[in-house]
Symmetry: C2
Subunit: 928 residues, 2 copies
């Protein structure tokens, strides 16, 4: 046990004072170095100065605790004893690396100093000892440079400014007519060291410290200081890491992989990080230092025969059999100990294997999936643990084609990654043309300023969709995700000029017919045809999701408007439709005509006659859905969007009218003239209707149940179609469970009004067919008032389905179609932590949902509760919905697998939390 005031923790094989559980105190690197020592793995000895010192340091104006110096000296001695070398001894000098190591990895953010302990005298000793003056002087040159940059602060803050040391090196190389650093000889290196020291003296007014102990304290101070440098602070802000945590400092004996052909250095993963295959995987270089593996001067070699890409590759497995075997053994120890795939660094110094690092290995989602499943099958993990090892959000990547990672791409702009996938095609600017060209077998990308429901045919026909406006839940984004279609939305960098049939980015213009590619997972817009790889769903995918199903409590439904969508969702494991948007059914040519007739009608009689034309079509739509869902519940929402969405836009009509009128002059034929005049009249009528339906804020306008209340015949027709379809299906032996959902309710009275119509039509239709149906009538809770009045509304609702998209829009006063203009800025500035249309705003919107859940249940115990907003497919939101006790989430078909896994993880996380509550002490012990 550590004493209360212990600030420095020693580590060496089997002699460590720390362990992996002490990550908060020792940082990730330090804790894992200790842990490896505890496991008997060879690690160059050293010591870790704890993060508490860092905290103390900042709280006391860069002062150290008073006992620190003594502790450091004591531990330095221990390292000397372990290594049999002495710090500052020119004959057999002990050199150190000094590295930062925070609780969480912050790659490249903080500073490191290597080869510490050299000076003019010791470098000569080292040259003699190693019989390698160039090695010694190069080490010294690197040390002075690193120390000058990091500790003495000569590294320019602005990336674009030139490092003074690099400037000196460049000048020397230029004078000597050489190109590579490796071409510098001992004389060059000595010259450089001299020059470095001169510039340091000039800039800092101090000589470069020759005393190794002064060097050491300087480096320790610099590492602590680097915790608060600008880029580290920014990195923490972005990644939500507390500034309070502080960093540890690891002072470790240097070992060298470049001491000859019996030395080497390498990095490896305990399993393949791309595929997850259970095979040791890595690269190494003989007679090299860590930096050389990265520098790309020599090509690293595979560590085992299996990794060989070319016949003349030579593997560590063949070349250093004993060391390879030793590493394989370490790999086994580490995996069994950490029960996860590890990312390791090693150095072989004169045949001795030294481990320098181990940490959790980063991996692709395919690898994560395979590793989790196989580790369970190997007995290393329980099913529950395996389930927690895969990020649900990432499953998305497995379901869509991806670009070949080896291809070089010409990225010309980046928008929002609205719907994942990779798409390539020729640019078109118009939905009709997209359909036409796709029908002719051409791959097209539909490029629009924004999309509207009329574009659906074209969106479906296109390989991908690119819009210059709108957010992650804009029309384009939502529809594309529903279709599983690649989409980059709100790409504000591009400027679409419909009239010129081109779009412009800076000084580039891309014309209709040009090839572009879209990466829906990153938001990248790529010029030309980027090569893609098709996705492959492995057996592990289904295996893991079946485990998830056995654990999750939430039911997963899908948002689907067509039998095709519904079937796709069932394939992915959906157990019902949580949202069928009936309006999408009205956009096909023949239906749109009847719909417009309905809208143009001036009285209920005409409206009814137009609706009568839609009735048989809607009935067929629902039959298709019921058949596809075969007994699973189908939630059908009555008409929701404002009616003007079914008319051409005012602008469109005005332009058309202008065209028609300008044409009049050139017409000589009387009957042709009559035709044009008639067309003018029709368009003028449409324009006048569009004018009268035009709204300032359509989102808050005459839509949702407001339509069905003003035009009861509309609800009547839809109810008729639903029950007619249900009766016919039931007659044919298909089980049906219709749930009719009324949108945009704000009061009980509205639902009473609509439910009366629905129940009456249901009764009539069932009587007509002599069939009884189980059906439900419920409501969307998608406006703050509905949530606040839930107790009242529940009295007449069989179910609530939370429409968190609109609830987010109204609760935050945020139009999802317009938010693209400022929301990214808000997130960048940290004013909002998350994009609220992606991750549910749990504090605001979530509180309203909780109010409605509690008060709805209080009023009606068995009320069914679900959610059908976009958040239904987002893991952190799903966890929230699980916690507050919803019964189902509904999401687009391609997100069903994500929801299944996330729902299972929600259960597991809840169990862990409950465990914590039951036994808080146990947890506290683990944490220390």
């Amino acid at each position: 046990m550590k004493s209360k005031t212990q600030s420095v923790f020693f580590f060496a094989a089997n002699k460590s004072e720390g362990s992996a559980s002490m990550v908060n105190l020792l940082g990730g690197k330090g804790a894992n170095l200790s842990e490896m020592c505890n496991l008997g793995i060879p690690v160059p000895p050293g010591f870790t100065i704890s993060t508490d010192v860092s905290t103390y340091y900042y709280k006391h104006k860069n002062q150290y605790p008073k006992d620190l110096e003594a502790e450091v000296l004591k531990n330095l001695q221990r390292v000397e004893d372990e290594m049999g070398k002495t710090f500052g001894d020119p004959k057999d000098p002990l050199l150190f690396s000094v590295r930062s190591g925070a609780r969480v990895s912050m790659p490249g953010m903080m500073d490191t100093v290597l080869n510490l302990g050299l000076n003019e005298k010791i470098v000569e000793g080292l040259a003699e000892l190693t019989n390698n003056p160039r090695f010694a002087w190069d080490s010294y040159r690197r040390f002075v440079q690193m120390y000058g940059d990091v500790v003495l602060g000569l590294k320019p803050i602005n990336k674009n400014d030139v490092d003074p040391f690099e400037e000196i090196i460049d000048k020397r190389k230029h004078n000597r007519h050489i190109e590579l650093d490796t071409e510098l000889d001992v004389e060059d290196l000595k010259f450089l060291v001299k020059e470095f020291k001169r510039v340091i003296k000039a800039r800092t007014d101090n000589d470069f410290p020759e005393d190794p102990m002064v060097q050491l304290w300087g480096a320790i101070g610099a590492v602590f200081g680097s915790w608060m440098n600008q880029r580290a602070k920014k990195y923490r802000d972005i990644n939500g890491i507390s500034h309070e945590w502080g960093t540890a400092v690891n002072v470790q004996a240097m070992v060298y992989g470049n001491m000859g052909n019996d030395s080497a250095t390498g990095v490896a993963f305990t399993r393949n990080p791309s595929t997850g295959e259970n095979r040791f995987f890595g690269e190494y270089l003989v007679n090299a230092q860590g930096e050389d593996v990265v520098a790309g001067v020599r090509t690293p070699q595979p560590i085992n025969r299996n990794g060989k890409k070319k016949l003349d590759d030579y593997s560590l497995e063949s070349l250093m059999q004993k060391q390879y075997k030793q590493l394989k053994n370490i790999r086994k120890i580490l995996e069994e100990h950490y029960r996860d795939m590890q990312d390791i660094e090693f150095t072989i110094e004169r045949e001795n294997v030294w481990m320098l690092q181990t940490r959790r290995g980063k991996r692709t989602v395919a690898a994560a999936l395979r590793i989790a499943v196989e580790m369970h099958e190997e007995g290393m993990l329980t099913k529950e643990e395996a389930l927690l090892r895969v990020d649900p959000e990432q499953l998305d990547y497995l379901l869509h084609p991806t670009f070949d990672p080896n291809a070089t791409l010409n990225v010309i702009a980046t928008g929002l990654p609205a719907s994942p996938g990779a798409a390539t095609g020729r640019v078109v600017f118009n939905a009709d043309e997209a359909e036409e060209k796709a029908a002719n077998g051409k791959d097209v990308i539909l490029v629009r300023i924004e999309t509207s429901p009329e574009d659906i045919g074209g969106m479906n026909a296109a390989k991908g969709i690119l819009t210059s406006r709108g957010g992650m839940t804009s029309h384009a984004a939502v529809v594309a995700r529903g279709m599983g279609k690649c989409c980059v939305a709100g790409c504000e960098e591009i400027f679409v000029v419909y009239s010129a049939r081109q779009f412009v980015i800076g000084d580039k213009s891309i014309n209709e017919g040009d090839w572009i590619s879209l990466n829906g997972s990153t938001g990248e817009v790529i010029l030309g045809k980027a090569p893609t790889i098709e996705p492959e769903v492995s057996g592990n995918f289904n295996k893991l999701l079946e485990w998830a199903d056995a654990i999750k409590r939430l039911e997963i439904r899908t948002n689907a408007d067509t039998p095709e969508d519904a079937k796709k969702a069932i394939e992915f494991g959906a157990k019902g439709i949580g949202l069928c948007r009936t309006e999408h059914m009205f956009f096909q040519e023949d239906r749109l005509t009847a719909m417009r007739e309905m809208i143009m009608a001036d009285n209920p009689l005409w409206r009814r006659s137009a609706l009568a034309k839609l009735l048989p079509m809607q009935t067929e739509d629902f039959i298709g859905l019921f058949e596809a869902m075969d007994g699973y519940p189908v939630t059908i929402r009555t008409l929701d969007p404002p009616l003007h969405e079914f008319l051409p836009s005012r602008l469109e009509l005005m332009v058309k009218l202008l065209d028609l009128k300008l044409n009049l002059k050139g017409i000589n034929d009387l009957s042709e003239m009559d035709n044009v005049l008639k067309e003018i009249r029709i368009n003028e009528d449409l324009l006048s209707k569009a004018e009268s339906l035009n709204e300032f804020n359509p989102m808050l306008g005459k839509r949702g149940c407001r339509l069905g209340i003003m035009y009861p015949e509309l609800t009547e027709m839809q109810a008729k179609a639903i029950f007619e379809a249900a009766c016919r299906c039931k007659h044919n032996g298909i089980a049906v469970r219709p749930e009719i959902m009324v949108p945009l309710i704000t009061s009980k009275e509205e639902l009473v009004h609509q439910k009366e119509i629905i129940d009456r039509v249901a009764r009539d239709t069932m009587d007509k067919h002599g069939i009884e149906l189980d059906y439900m009538v419920g409501t969307m809770i998608e406006l703050p008032r509905a949530a606040l009045m839930a107790g009242d509304i529940a009295q007449v609702a069989d179910f609530f389905s939370f429409g968190t998209n609109d609830l987010t829009q109204t609760t935050l006063g945020l139009s999802r179609d317009d938010a693209g203009k400022f929301l990214p800025f808000y997130i960048e500035k940290g004013i909002y932590k998350n994009e609220p249309f992606q991750k549910l705003d749990q504090d605001g919107v979530g509180r309203l949902v909780k109010i409605a859940v509690n008060e709805g249940r209080e009023a009606k115990e068995n009320i069914k509760l679900g959610i059908c907003g976009e958040h239904g497919g987002e893991p952190s939101s799903i966890e929230f919905f699980h916690k507050i006790g919803l019964e189902y989430v509904s999401c687009s078909p391609y997100r069903v697998p994500i929801a299944r896994l996330a729902a299972a993880q929600a259960v597991l996380k809840e169990r862990a939390e409950n465990q914590k509550k039951v036994n808080p002490k146990k947890d506290a012990l683990i944490k220390v």
Copy 2:
């Protein structure tokens, strides 16, 4: 005390079983008849069958309680004893009136039967007794007709159908070549009775009942039945009267004012109902029945000399001095007893005065005000009681000119009564023209489809504003109310055609320059010049409001953007500005130019340079406001509306560009060509900016603090102007209390961001001037999330001001600019009880306000809380704001008096409620 089963309550002078406090049981009429008897006032004796019987009757399928018959008979006997006449005795017959009487007056909704107790034999006795066969037969004719209509159901349900009795009368008159009913002689009347009975027999298959007792039970049943007739039910639905209450039936001895020149009948008010003057006021007719006063055949005469309009009017005061004195005495008794102005009916039968009715008199607001104040001064009412006697909402009428009530108006359409007042002027369709014509001394009415901030100059110049779109809180309505300008908004009946410079209503078209008049209190649009009366604010007005100020707890502030508005509001008693909308300051020509420059700027530098031009102007604006408010707090909101509001509309720009381009052809001069090309380029730039700023839902778009966060230089400029102005004012000895308010906050982080700028600028400016200022920084709570996060936000806010307009829009998902399309329908159908932009939705929006108040105070005890939405001037909402503990309400200047009175009433109502809680039994006693 009544026994538990007593159903019938006798009344006669000093012998009543009921009283005024038994209104629920006896109905208004019955209770007051009993009360008058208790006061010793002569009332024809009678009895009241209680509302409990009505309830019993409906619950038991139109059956009466078993003891009812005996009770009725017993009381009938008592009436006979009192009158010394006998029911059914041909020699000296007692006749009855049978009248309904519910708890609340439902004028004309239910049925009445007069002269009940006549038959073929008794009518002859009556003729003999009165020596007036025509009186007797006319009474009988009326009875048979009324009984046939009401009890036997011959009255047509559809108003447009002809009453069979009237048909018979008309035929008779036609045959006899006479025009008036009074010309019918005894023979005619006998003929009519015979014909009436014939048609009754034919239609009902029954003879007309000759037995007076059968007649009586028939009439009682009919009155009970009339409670449930269609129009009564509808009336109750509209007026929120419970169907459960039921009606009482009053059976009362008939008295006759038409028995000769010693008889008379009249109606009177104890004070003048128009002016409130404390003088007996009424009309009467000698030798006439109640109906004759209404029928208009003879002109009613004033009851006292003071009421004489013409020299030859003869007053009751002169003609029947004794009876007049008796009535004056009754008047005194009633007023002192009821402590309110009464509306009475009386009949003088052969010199005997009989009172038939007393009830609270309806009155104009001017009268209400005067009566309340004078009754206090007369010692009849406490100040508190006087305050409760005036409907605050109605004070509005006193502050605006009104149309001469005697003028005949040609009302051509009706819109929403958006801002009260009466305005007359010539139609203009364009704000600039309105200003131009007004500058030339012309009265104009600005007619627009809708108004926008650019129209403000024209709105100010116009006498009134008429819009065809938008609700009670549309731009036009809000701005007009702020200006105290008459406005009729959302008049959907009219169709505005800008291009034709006319608007159309049905087949009428009204052209530019035509005269129209607007009644902003009723929403009426009147063709031509309607004559108006200027308002006069009496001393009573200020007296009452001073009493109110002494009692109210809420502080009343005003929403004012100009020194003129601010001064007006102070005149009306405002104690500060609760909302200054700075954007209104940017619409003057020179400012708009700088504002557009700012918007067109592509980077912060250019933006700053444009803002620098606005700074001195804004500073002057604020100096004006601070000077006007002289030490009262001034709440200034930073820029709120989306920037595109400051640009011409896209449509406008497109049309202009089209025009310019079509013009190009005709130009031959090169420099002219250059000018036009330049203008084209400017407009193209504007159009492209307007396109890029265009939003789907501007209400939920880039506005409010989102502007100040994206363009901090904007907030900076405004803060500079505020503090610069404040420092200069303080330097000149003017007290200043600036409160800076950040709009559209959803999270603490946004306020932190803006407050940092404001505090910094404040510090710099105060340092520059060497002056310290007390100022506050707070936020609007106008989005649901802000209310839900109030505990968080309060940590950094000095005050909250609830923006209930926007909070209503978002909580209900209701755009106030678009709601006109369905909200009236919702209210008509009873789906919403009130227009939520007029009366606060207490259940939904109010709940959010309560959450914010509670959690805000919990986080910061001394946080200042107020409200600046339109609801701040609406009495029921003010009562709510008082109850939940806000500190102030802010409303448009013209509503300040309303708010003052409503705030005092809120205190008084609260006191009464607390009293009830302390002593519930006392209250229960009063209620029974």
